[in-house]
């Protein structure tokens, strides 16, 4: 056990830091903003492509796929540097982190180069079609149907909560290809171009009333080439849980950084007199102390998971980290609202809430921030589902 990284890992950090110094776009060039998580402005496309070409987009991948075969600790300091500078890895995070990652893991060589590489190089953007009106926590109960007809699938059904779909070029959609077997065994993963006839996208606003990111996606006899199947037919659940694993592997770093940004903002606003003396209120101090402990424990638990992965040990704390991170953000937002009192009634975004290299979606008033934390406790498995997972898979309790 030790507090510092090795000198090799620090050298890696220094190299990436120097690259960022040399390659981050001039803030003046970043005025065109992404409209959703499926939209990347031209300046950011160019920047993401440079990250890919120089092996800094996904450092753990080989150079062919935008990386440099970095170790887990090197990947961790990569995220630390991005977080410290408040630079987002991609404005199409689900495209890079889940869709292209799933294709790299489960796709054919041809699919990797045809679909994953253009998404990683920000030439195209992607969205993820998972949840349906009738399949949320029970994701495997999805019913969007795909019937193989010669060299194509015919897709009918509906997805919902499909972030960024209205601006995305492709979807990775999970569909039912065999309705006559247990639900986990009849699912397949398909890449579907969003301009295919019969596919309709209807964006809708979330509770924070900003530019819409969510979509309903309707499929009405949508024809998809059979070659767009990712993984084996009816083996889509493996792709799905694999893609969630991609999402969760380093996700704690994003929870941790999100929480730290909220905490930094709260500390500086309280020091500046926000909440009319809240910084001297013992109740506020008590809650603030607990949030600071959440932040540290999240980082330390993530580091422990990293150390265990590095040793090749099974890691089982993804649900714990997600639960802790999402609920900690909610707890902190609620505390800040209560500390501010009536001053929180104004939804004006505080200055300095956003860096030019982050999505505008991170710039929120405290009231909207509080609503937004429910995206954390509901999406990617609700807190209740993660408590079940912890009890069953970590603590060995019987399934109910």
């Amino acid at each position: 056990m030790r507090l510092t990284y090795t000198s090799e890992v620090e050298a890696f950090r220094a190299e990436f830091s120097a690259w960022l110094d040399a390659n981050l776009p001039d803030p003046a060039s970043t005025t065109v903003r992404p409209r959703s998580s499926g939209d990347i402005p031209a300046w950011a496309r160019e920047y993401q492509r440079r990250m890919f070409d120089d092996g800094w987009l996904v450092p753990g991948y080989p150079p062919e796929f935008g990386g440099r075969n970095a170790s887990l600790y090197e990947q961790a300091v990569y995220w630390e540097e991005l977080g410290r500078r408040r630079v987002t890895q991609s404005f199409n995070p689900q495209g890079l982190g889940i869709v292209s990652a799933s294709i790299i893991t489960f796709g054919t060589e041809e699919q990797k180069h045809r679909w994953a590489v253009p998404i990683m190089r920000a030439e195209r953007t992607a969205a993820l079609g998972m949840s349906e009106p009738g399949a949320g926590s029970d994701l495997a109960g999805l019913s969007t149907r795909a019937v193989l007809d010669g060299d194509r699938f015919i897709v009918n059904g509906q997805k919902v909560w499909t972030s960024g779909a209205h601006h995305a070029d492709v979807l990775l959609a999970f569909v039912r290809t065999d309705p006559d077997v247990p639900k986990h065994k009849g699912i397949s993963a398909l890449i579907i171009e969003t301009d295919t006839p019969g596919l309709e996208r209807r964006p809708f606003q979330d509770i924070t009333a900003r530019q819409p990111d969510f979509n309903e996606v309707f499929f009405d006899d949508v024809e998809v080439p059979a070659e767009n199947l990712v993984g084996e037919l009816n083996d889509g659940w493996r792709v799905c849980t694999g893609s969630l694993a991609h999402e969760r592997e380093m996700l704690w770093i994003l929870w941790s950084q999100g929480l730290d940004q909220m905490l930094d903002a709260m500390l500086s606003q309280l020091n500046d007199g926000a909440g009319a003396g809240a910084a001297d209120d013992p109740v506020v101090l008590d809650g603030l102390g607990s949030s600071i402990m959440d932040s540290w424990s999240l980082r330390l638990l993530g580091q422990r998971q990293l150390a265990r992965s590095q040793r090749g040990l099974h890691v089982a704390d993804q649900s714990l980290l997600k639960l802790l991170g999402s609920e900690a953000q909610q707890k902190l937002a609620l505390l800040m609202l209560e500390s501010l009192g009536p001053a929180a009634l104004d939804r004006t975004v505080p200055p300095g809430a956003q860096s030019p290299y982050e999505s505008d979606r991170s710039a929120l008033s405290w009231a909207d921030r509080y609503w937004f934390t429910f995206a954390g406790t509901i999406s990617g498995g609700t807190s209740e589902i993660h408590r079940n997972i912890i009890a069953e898979r970590v603590l060995g309790q019987p399934r109910g």
Partner: protein, 373 residues
């Protein structure tokens, strides 16, 4: 950073656990709780194993283990609700001697501790329950070659049985630490919540000790604060261990206890309580280990880290004691079930050396200060 135990540390953890499984089974804690036994034999066993010497520096005939290793031992000690003066002697008395005495004096005073000949404790708090050196009002005045002490100290761990007590007093305007033989003070014990963790109120009025028993030179406020960071981290580690034991008992019980024809652990209401206990324990665990690591490396975060560890252990005990006892149902409410032995150890951990709330507020103030800087 590499935030996991090394192979040697894991091996130590296994060894300590095996020893305590054999030497401090629940029957020992129960015999102490029933007043049928004291901790003397168990302490002699630990002395035989050189545990008092473990974390002491080699200059004082110690074995020179680091703080992470000590935290491993303390956690296991809490997990077994082990009785005796290990915590007071090794995590309170020894650090205060090391911080407040000059190097030569410290080695001389700690050598008998390492040899298991002397037990010790500290007397800082005067009833506020904050252990804040700034609130000390007990005094000492010089009288010839002696010091004469006045005042009353509260919540002195093992205060009625320790051989030596390191007492914080004000002398000529400075905060100082004076070593007082346990036999020279009047000590009164109440009825302890956990009979394995005994506190006393000690009255110093008129106690006279030779001036050579004054430790170090100059004001000892910082020395006391630094030593208390070790003591607070130790309490947190013991509390963590007690919480882990409560959790182990309840997690196993939920798999075995059949109601409505199924194990109660299959009910979501039970699962969610267990998941919350696990979350709070793991949160406390990493903060305790982090505090130990900052002490081991004398890192500037040690003040913050000690308070975070104590507060997180306090929050974990609140969850584990509350939900653990609730989930155990009627059987946990009996004297004959072992659960209460660990509930007591966990609860005591919260109530001394600053509550979770006190430490949370301290954490918040430190963070506000560092954000403003």
């Amino acid at each position: 950073m590499e935030f996991e135990f090394t192979e040697d540390q894991l091996e130590l953890q296994r060894a300590v656990r095996d020893i305590l499984d054999a030497e401090a089974p629940p029957e020992l804690a129960r015999a102490v709780a029933d007043g049928q036994k004291d901790a003397a034999d168990f302490w002699q066993t630990l002395v035989g194993l050189e545990w008092p010497a473990m974390a002491l520096p080699e200059e004082a005939d110690g074995l020179g283990y680091g703080w992470v290793e000590l935290a491993i031992v303390l956690e296991e000690s809490g997990r077994h609700a082990a009785p005796g003066p290990f915590m007071s002697t090794v995590t309170q008395f020894a650090p205060l001697i090391a911080e407040a005495a000059g190097p030569g004096q410290a080695a001389e005073l700690l050598a008998p501790v390492a040899a298991g000949q002397t037990t010790g404790t500290i007397a800082v708090d005067e009833g506020a329950g904050t252990w804040d050196p700034a609130e000390v009002s007990a005094t000492g005045r010089r009288s010839g070659d002696d010091l004469v002490l006045e005042g009353t100290k509260h919540y002195v761990l093992d205060g009625a049985t320790a051989d030596e007590i390191a007492v914080a007093v004000r002398i000529e305007g400075e905060l100082r630490v004076v070593l007082v033989p346990g036999s020279s003070v009047q000590a009164v014990e109440g009825i302890p919540v956990d009979p394995g963790v005994r506190h006393a109120t000690i009255t110093l009025d008129g106690v006279r000790v030779p001036a050579v028993r004054l430790l170090g030179d100059g004001d000892a406020s910082d020395a006391i604060r630094r030593a208390l960071e070790e003591s607070v981290t130790a309490v947190a580690a013991v509390t963590l261990g007690a919480c882990q034991r409560i959790f182990d008992i309840i997690n196993a019980y939920a798999k075995e206890r059949i109601q409505f024809g199924v194990p109660i652990g299959s009910f979501q209401a039970v699962k969610h309580k267990l998941a919350n206990m696990y979350r709070d324990i793991e949160r406390a665990r990493v903060l305790v280990y982090y505090a130990a690591l900052t002490l081991a490396e004398d890192h500037p975060d040690r003040t913050l880290a000690a308070s975070m560890a104590k507060a997180a252990a306090g929050e974990a005990q609140r969850r584990c004691v509350q939900d653990g006892l609730q989930l155990a149902g009627g059987i946990g409410y009996t004297w004959e079930h072992d659960l209460h032995l660990f509930l007591r150890r966990a609860k005591v951990g919260e109530l001394h050396f600053g509550s979770a709330s006190q430490h949370r507020r301290k954490v918040a103030r430190l963070a506000l200060q560092s954000s403003a800087a």
